[in-house]
Amino acid sequence: MVRVRLLQLGALAAVLALWALVTTLGAVSSTALPGPVSVAGAFGDLVGTGVFWQAVGDTLRGAVTGLAVAVAVGIPVGLVTGVYAAAEESSRLLTEILRSFPVIALLPVFLLVLGSTPGMKATVVFIACVFPVLLQAQYGARSVPPAVHDTVRTYRIPRLLRFRRVILPGAVPSVMTGLRLAATTSVLVAIGVEVLTTLPGIGHMIMESQAAGASDRAYAYILTAGAIGYSITLLAQFAERRLLRWRPPTHPGEA
């Protein structure tokens, strides 16, 4: 374990060194890629300011609101369509089409209809997140083994009880995967919306910094966004492991 950590630190150091080398040699203009030292400096300056935390808060608020609605809608719909073959078949084409629709393309339309409001940001996040949640819930509900289904049917277990005690627990692992995907997506989409509109948040700060000629500040914000996404992934993995201790891991490679 220690050896692995050392290796990882070494790789990080190598990347940073390469980054520093490229910028000091002047292979790329410093406006396109400022050196690691100046980015770190800019980051240090930012962390103490209220503007920075305000931006982080704005981004997270939009992401969490959209995500919460997506979960509230996506899981029930996914479970129901997963259990009833007819519902799944009827909705398949529609979900396929809507899923592959690039949400960001809706932005100009949303700007026209809803205007540049935090609600619009949450709406776009919702649309982006609802499909991973829905499809994973659907997949989870369908992964309940047939033997279990047969047993439940034979014992004539009431529908509601079946949902709560059989299908839901059976679907939880897959639902968790959907949540993890959706959580990272939510932050990414929130930032994407902010880059393109005047809504406050990290994305807007990246744009503003770059327009003001402060590339190092822009990169500091970009890396902050990466850190948020990365921590969400780690948190979700941790929660998944804690919540699902009762079952062996399905994707051993993912741990």
């Binding site: 592959s100 960001i104 700007l111 997949y139 995907l181 393109l196 994305g203 966004a225």
Partner: protein, 295 residues
């Protein structure tokens, strides 16, 4: 009608190889089509006499789309956007699969780079749009670069996990017989990783479409993104809806095309499923194995 789940055709996979009778095919189509058709008809009727400024009648939108494609410059925009996506994605596939194979095979490298790669994937490429466009200009190059940058990570990470998913026994055997590495790569590792590689490309495709739109909205004289931005900001609502619709159709058609290619190339992989008949019905692979990020 109500078939138990284990008799159902799995999602996202061809049914079996046995030819379907025409009636079965028709039935299946009807079952899958009624809802989309219903939604379309409802939309058509609901907006039919619409005088609302923001929601023009669907027929007007479709008319606009047709006339813009036939006479306007929309076709040029479409080609510009498609070319950028194709170039960026192709580049990301070559680099991502190449690097992924190496990282997947070399254990030390894999362990060392894991957190870095996860971090890179979690970093929103959209954030780079202002940085790249403002410094490198509004031409086609920066857009291809952005699409490449966004598509690289899912392909790379999926390739790594695809290489890892090859059974250790297979690895040992190939090694044990001292099969030359070139042959091993071509006959063992690459085919073994291919299903996952395709899953990565699928994720990358949706990212590529989004980045195409964003980079064109942010700064471009041509392209679909520019089209919807221009019409949106000058309040040509029908044009905006038409452009949005076109991008949606494009996203869908591209993903269907990719699936077709996948089924052609991976026929052997999908055919393998029925070999374990009833003992343990293998559910289909989850829709998106790796980060299904949209951006």
């Amino acid at each position: 009608m109500h078939r138990p789940p284990w008799n159902r055709p799995p999602l996202n996979r061809p049914l079996s190889n046995r030819p379907l009778s025409n009636r079965m095919l028709l039935n299946r189509m009807l079952r899958q089509l009624w809802l989309p058709v219903l939604v379309f008809v409802i939309l058509l009727l609901a907006t039919a006499g619409s005088t609302s400024f923001y929601f023009p009648p669907l027929t007007t939108v479709l008319d606009t789309l047709w006339s813009e494609l036939a006479h306007g410059g929309l076709l040029d925009d479409l080609f510009f956007s498609l070319r950028n996506i194709a170039l960026g994605l192709a580049l990301a596939t070559v680099v991502g699969v190449g690097a992924g194979l190496v990282i997947g095979e070399v254990r030390t490298l894999r362990l060392a780079t894991a957190p870095l790669l996860d971090f890179a994937r979690a970093t929103p490429t959209v954030g780079f749009v202002p940085v790249i466009i403002l410094t490198l200009g509004i031409g086609s190059g920066p857009k291809v670069f952005l699409i490449f940058l966004g598509s690289l990570w899912p392909i790379l990470l999926n390739t790594v996990s695809g290489v890892r998913s090859i059974g250790p026994a297979v690895h040992e055997t190939a090694r044990g017989y001292r099969i030359p590495w070139r042959l091993r790569l071509r006959r063992v590792i690459l085919p073994g990783a291919l299903p996952q590689v395709f899953a990565g490309i699928r994720v990358a495709l949706s990212i590529a479409v989004v980045l195409m739109v964003v980079s064109e909205i942010y700064g471009s004289p041509v392209g679909l993104g520019n089209f919807i931005l221009q019409s949106g900001s000058s309040f040509h609502v029908a044009e905006t809806w038409a452009g949005t619709l076109l991008i949606g159709v494009l996203g869908y058609v591209l993903s269907v095309l990719l699936l077709l290619v996948e089924h052609r190339l991976l026929g052997w992989h999908h055919q393998r499923a029925p070999r374990t008949p009833r003992a343990r019905p293998t559910p289909p692979a989850p829709p998106e194995k790796s980060n299904g990020a949209v951006v």
